[in-house]
Amino acid sequence: MARFLIVRISLIMVTLLAVSIAIFSLIELLPGDAAALMLGQQSTPDSLRNLQEQMGLDRPPHIRYLEWIGGALRGDLGVSAKSPDISISSVIGERLRNSALLAVSAFVIAVPLGLAMGVWVGSRADTKIDRFLSMGGLVTISLPEFVTGVVMILVLSTMLGWLPSSSIMMPGESIIGNPQVLIMPILTVTGALFAYIFRMARANVIEVMESNYVRTAVLKGLPMRTVMVRHVMPNALLPTITVIANNVGWLFGGLIIIENLFAYPGMGGELINSIKTQDIPMLQSTAMVIAAVYAFSNLAADLTYGLLNPRVRLS
């Protein structure tokens, strides 16, 4: 296990190095540099040169890249282009906590519920309730997050007035202190994730139910409950978990959209904000941190899979 971890973590490091070069190049390709974008229309040759010197943009790209990466490894991502008083590391730290809160809550709700419902429905394949629920699941997966979100705002906030329509926080307020702003974003993320997991679990349960070993187990007279728990579930849930793990990227995409819909102060919101204000240093680091979190959640998913799968665990 330790060897596996070391290999995987060094692979992630190589990947992240490639990703960081990709992100840096995509931003380097922008016409004009961070200073020009900041000054915009008011830019004069003199003011531009001053700001470039002040931001260190007069140095060649590879030096700036190394400085950025070096700083990132020490936990210092520099300052925002909007103001030298805004430390990118502290902004990202806070946004990351908020996003994690959202993602983890959705995961903790959606995964067990989705798996349980998938097993329950999968063992009743082709009944009326199965057809109804799996059709419902397909429709739920198809709904874009911003459509479910808008309908939720309309019903729970505009019509019933139960919840605030956005998660904007006043300076000094924290998400933890205002749990009511969390409810709609969590519900929106959970909805699609739950339907997706449910459909995957159902498909895998149906496949396993048709296997010879399950038929043998049923025919030798084992009670249905035992067949489900001992034979169907271990074999059906493993591939389901792999699929969930492989789709962490989907969750990330959904989070970016949902955070923007609810003006939720997370990484996705910050990413779009920094694009709209063309805050290049912030954009670069936000993108990099999202990519890094993505890489490590993929690793976590692989580890979970390894822990659950005896074939991997024992080899």
Binding site: L30, M135, P144, F146, Y196, N247, Y294
Partner: protein, 310 residues
């Protein structure tokens, strides 16, 4: 995905022209799809959308971009069936006009992505060895960035660098790039399944050039996989296009775009809810239709649900 090597293709494999063979297998696939309930419902929804997208520009009651400043925030009336938005633009006209651009972008983007993926996948799978390893490592790296993040970064660069280029082509390019890695993996494994077969071997022994073997011998045999892959990807392409539109990074104002309309009009939910709900419903029903159709394809061809990532 090997299950996609379905019987329909085998029946007509005697026909020499690969295009005819493909058209024929597509027709028999459609017959199979229409036999399932989900397939029928999905097909109907998609057809309604396609029809509206084609005739939409002729049946819009108003010019979609026209301001009617006296009728701002109008509720649904006889004049404006779905009401108006903050500039008094007719919501129905804008929803109808929006269909064409999103369907066009998502379809062409998917075709581009699947074409790139097929070229890369067939090359990688057929070449094998070092080339295969290098290509697949690059694919791994592309997959290491979540596709929406990659799309956002590329679009931010491309819209500023190529400001003369039409937005929709930039988005099409982005869909193509972000679909290529996943597609090429699927096509590569289909190629690996075909590669050891006898007709490939005999073409090699005849001394046919490598491109001929790749695109005249192998490609026709992985086309069913390519077709299924494209059908399933289209809904992801629609969601990506709409998502970018919603984030304000897609087609720009004043061109009507469903995602952007939802984002803009969500601010006025308490006064004119329909202006955000109508494009949202249009978007949702289109993706539901396509997913039902894709589910019909899966059922008809007995392909297990793989849960490809978006």
């Amino acid at each position: 995905m090997a299950a996609a090597d379905h019987t329909a293709a085998r029946d007509v494999s005697a026909s020499a022209n690969p295009l005819l063979r493909f058209a024929s297998s597509a027709r028999s696939a459609l017959t199979l799809i229409l036999r399932t309930t989900t397939g029928r419902v999905g097909f109907t929804i998609v057809m309604v959308h396609l029809t509206l997208a084609v005739i939409g520009p002729w049946i819009t009651p108003y010019t979609p971009t026209d301001f009617h400043l006296d009728d701002r925030f109008s509720a649904p009336t006889a004049a404006y069936w779905l009401g108006t938005d903050e500039f008094g633009r007719d919501v129905l006209s804008r929803v109808l006009a929006g269909a064409r651009s999103i369907i066009w972008i998502a379809t062409v983007g998917t075709v581009l992505g699947v074409t790139l993926g097929t070229i890369v996948g067939v090359t990688s799978g057929y070449a094998g060895g070092k080339i295969d390893q290098i290509i697949m490592r690059i694919v791994d790296w592309l997959l290491a960035i979540p596709s929406l993040l990659l799309a956002i970064l590329v679009i931010n660069m491309a819209t500023q660098r190529f400001s003369g280029v039409d937005d929709s082509w930039i988005i099409i390019g982005i869909i193509g790039i972000s679909f290529m890695p996943n597609n090429s993996r699927v096509i590569r494994s289909a190629t690996l399944a075909v590669k050891p077969l006898e007709f490939v071997e005999s073409a090699r022994l005849r001394g046919e050039p490598t491109p001929y073997i790749m695109f005249r011998e192998i490609l026709p045999n992985v086309l069913p996989v390519v077709a299924v892959e494209a059908a399933i990807r289209i809904s992801f392409a629609l969601l990506l296009t709409a998502g970018l539109g919603f984030l304000g990074l897609g087609v720009q104002e004043p061109t009507p775009d469903w995602g952007l309309m939802v984002a803009e009009n969500a601010k006025h939910l308490s006064t004119v809810p329909l202006s955000a709900l109508a494009p949202g419903f249009a978007m949702a029903s289109l993706v539901v239709g396509i997913n039902l159709l894709a589910d019909g394809i899966r059922q008809a061809q007995n392909i297990p649900e793989t849960g490809d990532s978006r």
